[in-house]
């Protein structure tokens, strides 16, 4: 009997389509149209990405507002070995990004040349995909804003 170890590719795949509801739907509508939406809480603070209910009071939230397309890195982790279907085929940073006009941060990719170029508090701006359909991947990622532009 052969001593060669048997192996075979095995792919588990679930092609879900989910309905969005009015709040997430508005967020995705915005992404398709190149607009980033947050949602305003009763105290005036803005959650981005928007949530359907207030995380502290559980009250429904309804007032979607446009936020900026640049913001600051709140925290980040370097991904030195990207896997298929991740946002970038070269090393990049996963980061929590607080957009201008928002009080919470959203997870996305930052296309920095190396981890040495990443820092907490750095300014980044959105990079849109050309073809957009209403999906978080309509944002290709974020790119660092050179210091000369932010100064």
């Amino acid at each position: 009997m052969s001593s060669e170890v048997l192996q075979a590719p095995l792919v588990l795949e679930y092609p879900f389509t989910r309905s969005t509801g009015p709040v997430i739907g508005a967020f995705l509508t915005g992404l398709r149209d190149g607009v980033i939406c947050g949602i305003r809480r009763a105290d005036g603070t803005v959650l981005c990405p928007p949530q359907e209910y207030d995380p502290l009071t559980a009250e429904p939230l309804t007032e979607l507002v446009e936020v900026g397309q640049a913001g600051e890195v709140v925290t980040w982790a370097w991904n030195g070995d990207p896997r298929p279907m991740q946002p970038f085929d070269r090393p990049f940073a996963w980061a929590l990004i607080r957009l201008d006009g928002a009080d919470t941060s959203m997870l996305h990719a930052v296309f920095a040349p190396s981890a040495a170029e990443m820092s907490t508090g750095m300014r980044v701006r959105v990079v849109w995909r050309t073809e957009r359909e209403g999906h978080i991947a309509d944002i290709a990622g974020f790119e660092p804003i050179p210091a000369v532009e932010t100064a």
Partner: protein, 199 residues
Amino acid sequence: MSADRPEARDPLAAPAALSAPVTLPEALAGAEPVESVCTPIRMAYTYTPGRALSRYLRAMADKRILGERCGATGQVFVPPRGVSPLAGAATSEVVELADTGYVESFNITRVPIERRPDLKPPYCSAWIVLDGASVGFLGLVINLAPEEVRIGMRVRAVWKPDEELETSAANILGWEPTGEPDEVITDYERIGRIEASDP
């Protein structure tokens, strides 16, 4: 807890509205709303079978079906995992099984599965108990209209042509009726189950 934190609602109380009307920023006035999103989940593995399944898959290349017997209860499991799930012990003996058996239970699928164009609805998936096995396993009933499939029906494996055989369970294309008299099943509650005292 900070002093300015608002008082939390009773988490068990229903929200005031499940789908309140929302207001959109000016930039989205009149935009066609997105109402659904495709969020596929995909996990790509390299699968490596253990020793028992490797024996089973190598035998498949010779159109043979191997089960393994539990030394404690005498039960024969197929496909073999190397252990007896009821006795919690390693199986002690490799057993060659016939490629015939009977349909213990079945299901007819009438909805297509994306990316499985090989499965053309309606088709019949069946729980097939091989002669000499103590448990069933999943297979397709083929060469018969799904409406004709019945519990107890005798079936035999339909193998791929010899030149296409691999170390794969896909060597069995499906199971077709033998035309023999049906297996007599008297206790429907036992279907799909096995107990420590079963032979």
